[in-house]
Symmetry: D3
Amino acid sequence: MSRALKLSLTRRYRFAASHRLHRPNFSETDNQRIYGKCSNPHGHGHNYSLEVTISGAVDPETGMVANLGELDPFVEREVVEAFDHKYLNEEVPEFNKEVPTAENICREIYRRLKGFPAARLERVRLEETSKNSFEFDGEIGDREQRAP
Amino acid sequence: MSRALKLSLTRRYRFAASHRLHRPNFSETDNQRIYGKCSNPHGHGHNYSLEVTISGAVDPETGMVANLGELDPFVEREVVEAFDHKYLNEEVPEFNKEVPTAENICREIYRRLKGFPAARLERVRLEETSKNSFEFDGEIGDREQRAP
Amino acid sequence: MSRALKLSLTRRYRFAASHRLHRPNFSETDNQRIYGKCSNPHGHGHNYSLEVTISGAVDPETGMVANLGELDPFVEREVVEAFDHKYLNEEVPEFNKEVPTAENICREIYRRLKGFPAARLERVRLEETSKNSFEFDGEIGDREQRAP
Amino acid sequence: MSRALKLSLTRRYRFAASHRLHRPNFSETDNQRIYGKCSNPHGHGHNYSLEVTISGAVDPETGMVANLGELDPFVEREVVEAFDHKYLNEEVPEFNKEVPTAENICREIYRRLKGFPAARLERVRLEETSKNSFEFDGEIGDREQRAP
Amino acid sequence: MSRALKLSLTRRYRFAASHRLHRPNFSETDNQRIYGKCSNPHGHGHNYSLEVTISGAVDPETGMVANLGELDPFVEREVVEAFDHKYLNEEVPEFNKEVPTAENICREIYRRLKGFPAARLERVRLEETSKNSFEFDGEIGDREQRAP
Amino acid sequence: MSRALKLSLTRRYRFAASHRLHRPNFSETDNQRIYGKCSNPHGHGHNYSLEVTISGAVDPETGMVANLGELDPFVEREVVEAFDHKYLNEEVPEFNKEVPTAENICREIYRRLKGFPAARLERVRLEETSKNSFEFDGEIGDREQRAP
């Protein structure tokens, strides 16, 4: 019910990256069956569109939920600089061990952003192509922590 | 609360179809008042954009909620092949009796997809024009069935 | 749970307007720090895209949630005519006293639309630029009132 | 070279219509081979997006090439009212004899608009789906007529 | 024919601004007739999307027509900084005397960009709303100057 | 003038790929200065949107310029299969020696498509991100060859 008070703000960011979907502990047949052409040895890439939704009460003084002047540098530093123009498997440490599917990228972005101090992170939505998008709104632990 | 664990995936499909909004048991005046130019005798058509959202836990092995290699042929077979390049009133049996408003098309698509075996169907969203979209997330019965 | 029965319909409207973010009771330094270039004395403008979502049961007779023939003139009269091609600070009375941030515009639009008689207003979403959107689904009071 | 003086203005209109691609003088096999699923007996439909480009000198008094207050009712009357929510094969006389391919619709629209009195019609572009568009800028005869 | 050698590059920029269409030497009736609601005394605004097209030979060394590292700061300085979040009639000197119609904004942007040193300016396209865009490719004088 | 007779058709294709902009014969400083973050050793990727425009007379029998049933497999085979989900520098032979800038990708696509037998290739347009696109309409040699 506390949700009812809130207004949410969604801000879009973009980054371009490459990745390869492949697990060394799977057989070649399994990699091919599960990831198809996404498992090609040389990787491939996408323009990712990331929507970050935060929410909160509207400050009666400023008329704003949060200042984009605070959100933008936070997201730039935590996500965009780290992911943009990178080969995710090699250059983002979390994807050395975890396969960088859009699902896992989405969760990793959520993990990096959930500490935003000026408003509550509601969810992240990641568009990988014009046909696919992924949305994550937190693990159980986060959700319990957020309850008042 | 079980929602908190889930990540959702939205996949877009497209089909082009024609329909006519008209009920034989309404008077001409009523058909005209309710459906306006959509009740023209010869029908008219749209490019429909369909977004199917499924959700589930991320498989720790594959890093995926569901394999598009399974979702795509399911949606193609159940919906796209049946609706694409068709006159809905005549060629989709459910619309012989029910008027194919976007609302009813949306519900019929949900009904056809809710049995997807590999993940939970969250909702379907149907865009009929650049100005209108419709979203359905299930009847009470479905919802109760889904509760653990 | 009553939500489960509903189908929602989202309709897009557009208006172009100008505004200035500035509070006379803030110092110039504060106006600049909080609103940045949005506090320029002469104002600036945007094309706003407004999505209005209403929901309800699908009428078994008409196959519709609500008639756009009723929704369109209501939104046109309450919002589009009042906001389109206007300088919001001066020409919309509510923004003489409240600063017309997207958040406050969003809430004002919700307030103007929540009385729509033919279906329940679920939420309004206001896109101010291709990078920013804002969504509001009502104050606590509204929400309690809506519960059966 | 006279082109160099001109500024062009493109205005978008939308209509939804249905059609069937089929020629009675072709065999069924040929209709199927040439038009594929577009030859289904009941027809199918699209949301068409039409871009009309006109050009001319900028009027030094008004700062405009042409007044949209003149262009809009012209296009509405000549094209949108005639095509919107229609079954083109039956309800637009030109398509009783000619098959309403996007190419022929495009040419027919050009023919209907080339007489716009207040500026030169440069071209029409018709988008039939998110993947296909068609553009026509006139027959030789028109072009010669237009040369000074 | 020299065109045949060239590859063109189009880059998109965005700015938000407000304007008023009104000429003091026109009567109120004429202002209203010509500019309609765009002549409202307080002005109104838009999100403008600007596409700048440059062309040239592809440098066999770098594989590029021009370096965006040179184009971006040029357009930012000449246009975006000068127009973004401004009331054009008052804050861009050229529009103190000329009415800031999209046509005139388009020409003024072309005038400001035609001196780009690293490639030939082909045209500018200015989108004022989702329904209107304007394109300008130069005055005769520019064109003759450009011929080798 | 022969252009006047033609109607053009533009068809959109999509592929996702990764690349690295880097020339071994440039110094590191030069690679960095010219290509910036695009020269990162591990490459990065994009969703490419490709628009292929062909033109010709409308066949009076079929009402079409060309059959998409012929164009689609041609473009799929010549471009999409070869580029989609590939690391261009390594997996497309032409980019072993030439740096795969969007300009060079655009020219290579044109080269692969210009032999389309059923209509004249007018141009290819390649969108690399939502801010950049590139267009190529042929080398002088091609153009002369095309003249009747």
